[in-house]
């Protein structure tokens, strides 16, 4: 090993320490971009994160990816030990749980599509509750008549349920295989997969006032789950 390698390694270690500190300090997953200012210009953040992930793979805390973000979390296999007796502040109702699953597996999906699957009108409260929990977000508007709002899951959803990405959703492969993710019968050859990227070709961005909590103006369904 020549001295240059030693330097290189030293810098690498220093960078790893910086990432450790930043990731440890935060309780929320961090975007790799936020590390940039603290590392040298040429630092390969992704490689550093993967190195760190490997180092912590067997530890009591793991470095996990949540969508595009990263966070330290206690190891999943220790869950039985760390299980807290806390009650959920607001336990999810059945409709909310169903709606969440439908959005997660079918996203981007409109309210009408959610109702199609559930066979019942979705109360305004259900989507509000899921958005309030930070698990569901309005993504855009479907480019169809009425321009209904499309819903999708958030990074906080991934974080809460310990998923690296939507492809980790439990039972996804099975659902895909049985054609149950398609909206209509008969299942088309192209099985849509949950999509949480930027807007899809059939989605428009949200209107400027969509965030003023009037996302339900396209629907005045009764509240079936208040």
């Amino acid at each position: 090993m020549n001295p240059g390698d030693g330097d290189h390694q030293e810098i690498g270690e220093r960078h790893l320490r910086v990432l450790e500190a930043l990731l440890f300090a935060a309780s929320e997953p961090l975007d790799p971009v936020s590390f940039k200012p603290y590392l040298g210009a040429g630092a390969d953040v992704q490689a550093l994160l993967l190195t760190l992930q490997t180092r912590y793979a067997d530890r009591g805390i793991n470095l996990v990816r949540r969508g595009d973000k990263w966070a330290f979390r206690t190891a999943q296999d220790l869950g039985f030990l760390l299980r807290r007796e806390e009650q959920e502040t607001r336990p999810l109702s059945r409709p909310a749980l169903e709606t969440l699953a439908i959005i997660a597996y079918h996203q981007p999906s409109t309210r009408a599509e959610i109702e199609e699957v559930r066979g019942v009108a979705t109360g305004k409260g259900t989507l509000d509750l899921l958005m309030e929990a930070g698990w569901v977000r309005m993504r855009g508007r479907r480019r169809t008549p009425g321009r209904p709002v499309t819903y999708g899951t958030t990074d906080a959803f991934l974080d809460h349920f310990g998923l690296e990405s939507l492809s980790d959703l439990p039972g996804l492969e099975e659902l895909k295989g049985s054609g149950l993710l398609s909206g209509r019968l008969p299942p088309s050859l192209q099985i849509p997969l949950p999509f949480d990227g930027a807007l899809r070709e059939d989605e428009d961005p949200l209107d400027p006032d969509d965030h003023d909590h009037d996302h339900d103006r396209d629907h005045d369904g009764e509240d079936d789950d208040a």
Binding site: R118, G119, A121
Partner: protein, 262 residues
């Protein structure tokens, strides 16, 4: 190790007898939920349920509920109508010229929807049984928040600075100025006094001489003269006195108006 799995949908196994049909319909999330429950009672895989039997059970359920005079939501009635139609399609052989979807296709669609709803419930349960953040998996308990040291860059121009200086120096001057307490004649006072002094006289009299008693101090002279003059103009307008001035800057003469009754 095993973690106790919770069925988040917590659906108790349906009882075997027909009691289920008497449960409050509000216990179901909707007609599809009810159908799913009825299908499960067939105790076979959803793929091999008898849709015909299912439709009949549903219709039977709706009948029973209506006998009990329980209001049914429109959703349930729409589904009942649809199932009645499905039943007829399934029982009547399809005519070759029929453009309508076959009963089998409709049944398959219903089956698909039931399977899909069941699948969504299954995965929802699986999701909720994952090691969830804050329950089995934890974030840093003592996050060290990033302190943001906000340094203010103050902005001020030289003009602002000079204006601030100049204006407060000027303010300082006016603060030191104490106005003299002057005796000021009000117009009403002047008018009363003037009328009283003129009295019954119809003679021209220099206005100043009427006021001679009041010109006690030179300092009051200006206000007395101004108020008296202004009042005199008012009195002329009212036709009570006459005013005369023979030449520019000459003395003002005043007398009682001739027509005025004493």
């Amino acid at each position: 190790m095993t973690t106790a799995q919770t069925d988040w949908f917590d659906t108790p196994l349906p009882p075997d007898d027909d009691d289920i049909l008497y449960v409050d319909v509000a216990g179901y999330e909707g007609p599809l939920d009810l159908l799913l429950d009825l299908a499960r009672r067939q105790k076979v895989d959803l793929a091999s349920i008898s849709v015909l039997a299912l439709a009949e059970q549903y219709l039977h359920f709706v009948e029973k509920v209506r006998e009990k005079r329980i209001e049914l939501a429109a959703d349930y009635l729409v589904m009942a109508a649809w199932l009645a139609y499905l039943k007829s399609r399934l029982m009547v052989p399809q005519a070759p010229s029929d453009d309508e979807p076959s009963g089998e296709m409709l049944a398959a669609m219903l089956q698909f929807r039931l399977k899909r709803l069941e699948a969504m419930r299954r995965v929802a349960s699986q999701l909720m049984n994952r090691p969830r953040l804050g329950f089995q998996v934890h974030a840093r308990g003592m996050p060290e928040p990033i302190e943001i040291a906000r340094t203010s860059l103050w902005e001020a121009s030289l003009y602002d600075l000079l204006k601030a200086y100049a204006s407060q120096r000027e303010r300082g001057i006016s603060a030191e100025y104490t106005p003299l307490q002057r005796t000021v004649w009000s117009l009403q006072d002047a008018r009363d006094i003037l009328q009283r002094l003129i009295g019954d006289s119809f003679e021209w009299v220099p206005m100043d001489s009427y006021l001679v008693h009041y010109l006690a101090t030179p300092g009051e002279r200006a206000t007395v003269r101004a108020s008296t003059f202004a009042s005199s103009l008012e009195l002329v307008r009212l036709g009570k006195i006459d005013l005369r001035q023979a030449e520019t800057f000459g003395p003002l003469f005043v007398r009682r108006h001739k027509d005025e009754a004493p």
